[in-house]
């Protein structure tokens, strides 16, 4: 094979993806550890105490990156699912399925850390505020996608049906977001505002960005690992998987 044919599409073949992802995973873990440790250190040791919220605010170093990634992963998942559906690219579909559990994890993490922050700051674990409600609905959308793809036995139908659902969900996300916001303003009035945060110190921002990169690398690591497992499962009839399995047994 010459260099000209070795484009990004080369890795769309499940066998090549399998080897490439296997090589990348340790690096992803290394980046994860490095940036998360640095981010936690800057966030918990260096960043100053907030004069309004005290020490409780420090949870944002986990909360905000998790919330960002929860939304980003949904869009990425919908993108790859749609790609796999329209171009009949199986690897893209498998990748979309591998993304979903990580999205659930970050959505749940965002909700959970939000609750931990809300108790000392607002005095309640949960408030039916616009953002909380739309994040909660995002969790439901993820769960619906996972439930649907797991309920269908045929992998092709599962991938395509999941893609359609993810796309409809992606179209609905802005609608849900704005409806929830209007509902909140119409009903509740301004009892709680999320815009009271003081201007952020630069060390706080640094910590948050470090954590975001760390979480991002973590997502790559686990999604690659999960996608490799899905590849093996769906390609179990293929020649290369058989040689991989028997070769591993011999050695």
């Amino acid at each position: 094979m010459n260099a000209a044919t070795l484009t990004w599409a080369t890795y769309a073949a499940p066998s090549r993806f399998y080897t490439l992802a296997g090589r990348l995973i340790p690096w992803c873990w290394a980046v994860t550890a490095e940036f998360c440790l640095a981010g936690l250190w800057v966030g918990f040791a260096i960043a100053p105490t907030d004069f309004q919220q005290g020490e409780a605010y420090r949870i944002i170093f986990i909360h905000v990156p998790a919330a960002w990634l929860s939304m980003l992963i949904y869009l990425v998942m919908a993108f790859w699912a749609a790609w796999g559906w329209m171009l009949n690219a199986r690897m893209a579909s498998m990748y979309a399925r591998a993304l979903a559990p990580t999205g659930v994890l970050f959505t749940f993490l965002a909700l959970w850390t939000g609750a931990l922050w809300g108790k000392p700051t607002w005095g309640a674990w949960w408030v039916w505020d616009a953002r909380l409600t739309s994040e909660f609905i995002l969790l439901l959308l993820y769960l619906g996608y996972i439930a649907l793809t797991e309920a269908i036995d045929d992998p092709r139908r599962a991938a395509n049906a999941g893609a359609l659902l993810a796309l409809v969900g992606a179209v609905n996300v802005p609608v849900i977001y704005f409806s929830v916001r209007w509902w909140n303003t119409l009903h509740q009035g301004a009892t709680i505002s999320l815009t009271t945060a003081p201007k952020m110190a630069s060390t706080m921002l640094t910590a948050m960005l470090l954590m975001t990169i760390g979480f991002w690398a973590y997502s790559f690591a686990v999604v690659f690992a999960r996608a490799r497992a899905i590849v093996l499962e769906q390609e179990s009839e293929a020649e290369w998987v058989r040689t991989l399995a028997t070769g591993a047994e011999k050695s």
Partner: protein, 220 residues
């Protein structure tokens, strides 16, 4: 196959199984009737939760019946014939959704004033509740058809529809109950009604095509 012919066929099928097609209405009344027993009979509380309870029960009742929209046609093979038929599959979906709404959505709207009285709601609020459900139940039928098409023939299809479709119905629920709340508070419900109507139009423009695509995926 013309649009009306499909609707008429589904309506005739529903008339032959009258009790079965009235089951969602029965569920609606029973579920909404359980709330005063569970929450307690204080008139003030009941009046406050009335609109929300009726709306949520309507959501659940609609989801309960949508799996039947394609199931029998799928079993006897006529759904495959509809896929092969010339003309747009989305049109057939619209016709079937319309029949579904006439047999299950409309009875809910008709029964709503009665439930409003049970919850001790004021007359203007009851009227607004019925109006929002009149606009809202077609949205539920359209979105439910999408869920039913995706889960066609699956073992756990009926339960999946709830998980898949209910998050998508949240905007309708918010604007529907919001309109009743506005009337109850002495304000104009114009904004919420307009948004609900806009939602109906957008859903009508998008959902039948998504449902048609889902049917093709499921029957591939």
């Amino acid at each position: 196959m013309s649009l009306l012919a499909v609707t008429r066929r589904d309506l005739r099928l529903a008339r032959r199984r009258q009790v079965e097609s009235l089951l969602p209405l029965g569920f609606f009344v029973v579920a909404a009737g359980l709330f005063p027993i569970g929450v307690g009979p204080e008139p003030q509380t009941l009046r406050q939760i009335g609109a929300g309870v009726v709306w949520v029960c309507a959501l659940l009742a609609a989801m309960l019946s949508v799996t039947q929209m394609f199931a029998s046609d799928y079993q006897d093979g006529s759904l495959e014939q509809m896929l092969l038929a010339p003309g747009s599959l989305a049109e057939i979906v619209i016709a079937k959704v319309f029949a579904h709404w006439l047999t299950t959505g409309l009875p809910l709207v008709v029964a709503t004033p009665l439930l409003g009285l049970l919850f001790g709601m004021a007359a203007p609020a009851i009227g607004m509740l019925a109006l929002t459900l009149l606009l809202g139940t077609p949205i539920l039928s359209l979105l439910g058809a999408f869920g039913a098409a995706l889960t066609l023939g699956l073992r756990s299809g009926a339960a999946l529809v709830f998980l898949i479709v209910l998050p998508l119905t949240v905007p309708a629920l918010i604007f529907g109950t919001g309109a009743v709340g506005a009337v109850d508070g002495g304000q104009s419900a114009q904004a919420q009604l307009s948004l609900l109507a806009a939602l109906l139009i957008i859903t009508f423009l998008g959902a039948p095509w998504a449902t048609a695509a889902a049917l093709r995926i499921s029957l591939e």
